[in-house]
Amino acid sequence: MKKLINAPDAVLSDALRGVQAAHGDRLRVSFDPAYVVRSDAPVQGKVGIISGGGSGHEPMHGGFVGPGMLDGACPGEVFTSPTPDQMIEATKAVDGGAGVLHVVKNYTGDVMNFDMAAELGRGENIEVETVLTNDDVAVEDSLYTAGRRGVGVTVLIEKICGGAAEDGRSLQEVAELGRRANANGRSMGMALTPCITPASGEPSFELGDDEVEIGIGIHGEPGRFREQLGPASQVAERLMAPILDDLPFSSGDRVLAFVNGMGGTPLLELYVMYAEVARVAGERGIQLERNLIGNYITSLEMQGCSITLLKLDDELLRYWDAPVNTPALRWGA
């Protein structure tokens, strides 16, 4: 394992030191419990929004803290959901009296820890709403399983809810918007290589020289199956088909297309993928009204990508376009 770190168990605190040194003017960093909030938090009268999850997915979530997006983020250890006390402290730090939204990716650990935070936090008299993201069509959705994972749509929801909160919308409205975006979003991912967590030091799975893993999540977990790597055009079709079938998206739909790198894939290749995504969408009469291309929700150094399509309506589009000012996503400000 070769990594630019000091020690496996110091990665999180060292990275937080870096965040503090780099963005101390706009973010406030707490080390114990670990969380990051925008420096002007709490913003009085505004709905606060926090999210959290394991580290190793950067820039998600810490890179999305700032005006127009998240008020706070709780980073766990690498690929390990954060703990309830982080969430409670972050919730308190961002509560400006209008309640706090928790954006939670649907993983057993994340859900349970946020649940415990909500239980333990009831005494704090802060109104909390939760939006659960579960957009990954690689996973079967069933009452009897853990359900679908939350992946790419999480980034889009954080942006859209952030825009709405900045616009003065109520906690219920912001949460409803988040749930609508989640209902309108679908994702699917693939990997060319595994990743290595600092703690384990071993590849998360083994892949042959011409194999790809289809239906991966963002924690280095193996996918649903593996197959031969084909050209980018085929990879795009492979990922788009289950997305387009699941919602279903139809001709005339206005869609935001998000081509996300898993961390180790060159931007050059992500643009090649975007060309193919646009082609496949075009063939179905779907209009790519907005796009986001880059490494936004990653799996350490994993090579590969995920595609997220989000069906837009006027309100979702408006809040997507609204100004945002965070380390990783910024426009109009």
């Binding site: 650990g109 690689a138 703690a199 071993e202």
Partner: protein
Amino acid sequence: MGITAGRAVDWMNRFASEVSEHRQELVRLDTAIGDGDHGTNMERGMRKALDRLGQAQPEDPGAVLKSVAMTLVSSVGGAAGPLYGTLFLQMGSSLAGHQEVELPELSAAWRKGLEGVQARGKAQPGDKTMVDALTPAVQALEEASELEPGLQAAARAAHDGMLATTPLVARKGRASYLGERSKDHQDPGATSTYYLFKSAAETLAG
């Protein structure tokens, strides 16, 4: 003589050692069907739990378990943090007020713990989780009439339950994303649960 606070601390010490010793094994099992952090997370949590026990010196077994529970909840994260946290919290509450704990109280506490884990995680036996080791072990303890053989039967049952997870298709937790591919792998959480019962059998009786 029943289980004292000191004994409970011995148990937690032994469990911490087992987890530490088998960290790589737990990581490897979790890499195969999860995200490879179970061993690291449990080790970090138990190390902190021992630190806190050393400072607070709780006076009865219930308080020992509650202290461990709180530390695990605030330092493990992932699925194991809330699940083991809930297990120990429920056990600790169930034992509240007992200076020395005998078999009936202990098995009642384990039952409460198991119920807590299931309330928290919604897993049924057969879902390929720690519940598959917990359920038969708790049952074995309930069926026992003496502490020492009871704990030994529980450890054996946990061991069998752990092994029985291997052929299962996971329906809960991260391994469920693999669908059929989760077969032929032993569940990491059931494995750490076996070490918890093994540690109990080696420390709580005699």
